[in-house]
């Protein structure tokens, strides 16, 4: 569960709040879109969840972790329960697909004995097993994003955070990618939060949508559409 209680965030030196008095909950196994205009605070919310940024006010609870009380030393262990996907994939260019996946298990000290099987398992799951030995630059954008999603799945996260995962993809691939998140949510029971600007896809997927505007939560619809006005009008 992700529980935000009156969370505000002001960046150092900034005049206004990037996130202001945000309160919302996401239950285990939910799928949520986070939408809003540029600069409305979507990425900031993710950075608060990953504890890349400290919050200014309020409290955040993620699963059993109270982020206000989480000690600096414990942060890495908390992050192992999250899977993060970026718009720009962030694959390591000098490593093959398989090495990129193995890397994230290696750096949290998992016995190499378990790693190879897990790499194969996850690559099969995202249907990329045949590209195992390729380097990132030998893959299409959609394939790279699938690898980066596979990487986020490696450590069996309880929550997946995807910040504009389709931002660099054409519409057809965007649909596939969002469908992949839906499948992860459905089959692996992983909680999924996706920030996106894909109006059409949000509209057609009928998921919960949280609307942000200038740092404030201005709407939260169970089977929402991209435009908050549209959502209101429909129901």
């Amino acid at each position: 569960m992700i529980d935000f209680q009156h969370v505000s965030k002001r960046y150092k030196g900034a005049e206004r709040f990037a996130v202001e008095d945000a309160t919302f909950q996401v239950k285990d196994g939910e799928f949520v879109f986070l939408v809003g205009p540029s600069g409305s605070g979507k990425t900031t919310i993710f950075k608060l969840i990953t504890k890349e940024e400290p919050l200014t006010e309020g409290s955040i609870q993620v699963n059993s972790f109270d982020l206000n009380r989480l000690k600096h030393r414990r942060v890495p262990f908390y992050r192992r329960t999250l899977g993060v996907v970026f718009q720009d994939f962030r694959l390591i260019q000098t490593k093959t697909v398989a090495e990129n996946l193995a890397f994230v298990m290696k750096v949290i000290n998992i016995d190499p004995y378990f790693i190879d099987d897990r790499v194969d398992e996850v690559l099969n799951w995202v249907d990329m097993a045949d590209k195992k030995q390729r380097f990132p630059h030998e893959l299409s954008g959609g394939e790279q994003q699938r690898v980066s999603i596979a990487r986020a799945l490696m450590n069996r996260p309880e929550v997946i955070l995807a910040d504009e995962p389709t931002g660099n993809l054409d519409p057809e691939l965007s649909r596939d990618t969002l469908r992949l998140f839906e499948r992860i949510n459905r089959e692996l029971k992983t909680t999924v939060l996706v920030v996106t600007h894909e109006k059409v896809l949000v509209d057609e997927m009928n998921k919960r949508v949280i609307y942000l505007d200038r740092g404030r939560i201005v709407g939260d619809r169970q089977q929402g559409t991209y435009e908050i006005a549209g959502a209101k009008g429909r129901r």
Partner: protein, 292 residues
């Protein structure tokens, strides 16, 4: 885990071998320079210590003093401040000592009158820094004709030593800073090439120690290699120094401590110093990065 650090550390070194070698060269130079000055100071110290042990002065008594009067001077001399001891040497004794020192062939002086050399006292002082002053006080005593003090060599060494020690201390500070800076920058550059990797590591939950590990290994290896090279260089330099002293026939005047005697400490300081610089410099370089 440790194996991972070591493998990644060496992989990093291979990736920017030239930068690594450049840094090693600078650190080696810094270590060797500092160490050489410290060794020079140590040698000077040793030699000054030797000279100071011999530091004493001779107070010559006025002519025509009889034996009893001369022996009686002892209490007057001992009463002077800073005098530790005074040994009486009679006229005959002085001649005997003198003759003893002559080569067989120079025995033509053998039949000099026994009382040619004046009776004297060898005076030892408490505090060597006041030798000059004390000798003046003794010279002023009734019955003392004059004194001779052989300070010049010791003073020469002493002032050289002051310069050398000052230079060594300044070098130590400056070159330590330079070495740390070199490691710091090298680590920073190495990091820059791996930012994306580090970002991924952090976001998937690698501990700070884990992110730091390979860089610390890299820094430590850099420091140790530099220390090792400095050891080898120092050994060579020291030999050259020794040969120079010998070739100028200065060996009587200046005793060079054998390298054997300083080897352990030199090697320990170079390797330990290198290791310290390497670890400290690289840890400092990645500190800020690990804040997030």
């Amino acid at each position: 885990m440790t194996i991972y650090y070591i493998r990644e550390g060496f992989r990093g070194i291979r990736r920017h071998l030239l930068m690594f070698l450049g840094s090693v060269a600078v650190i080696t130079a810094c270590l060797t320079l500092t160490g050489s000055f410290a060794l020079l100071a140590e040698n000077l110290d040793y030699n000054i210590g030797q000279l100071i042990d011999e530091n004493e002065f001779v107070a010559y008594l006025e002519d025509g003093m009889d034996e009893d009067e001369a022996a009686g001077m002892e209490s007057d001399i001992l009463a002077v401040d800073n005098v530790r001891d005074a040994i009486y040497i009679s006229s005959e004794q002085a001649m005997e000592n003198y003759l003893e020192r002559l080569e067989e062939s120079d025995r033509l002086f053998a039949d000099l009158p026994e009382d040619l050399l004046p009776a004297r006292y060898t005076v030892y002082v408490e505090n060597i820094d006041r030798l000059e002053e004390t000798s003046q006080q003794v010279a002023a005593l009734d019955g003392v004709d004059h004194v001779t003090v052989s300070l010049s060599v010791a003073e020469g060494f002493s002032s050289t030593r002051k310069v050398v020690v000052t230079v060594a201390a300044l070098l130590l500070a400056a070159l330590l800073a330079a070495s740390l800076l070199v490691i710091f920058n090298t680590t920073r550059l190495a990091m820059q090439g791996r930012m994306e990797e580090i970002a991924v590591m952090k976001i998937v939950g690698a501990t700070n120690g884990f992110v730091r590990g390979p860089f610390v290994v890299e820094g430590a290896v850099m420091g140790l290699v530099s220390g090792g090279l400095a050891c080898a260089l120092e050994r060579g330099f020291y030999e050259v120094f020794q040969q120079i002293i010998e070739s100028y026939q200065l060996a009587d005047l200046f005793y060079v401590i054998p390298f054997r005697q300083v080897r352990t400490i030199v090697f320990a300081v170079y390797l330990g110093g290198g290791l310290f610089i390497g670890i400290f410099g690289s840890v400092a370089a990645i500190r800020r990065l690990l804040k997030v």
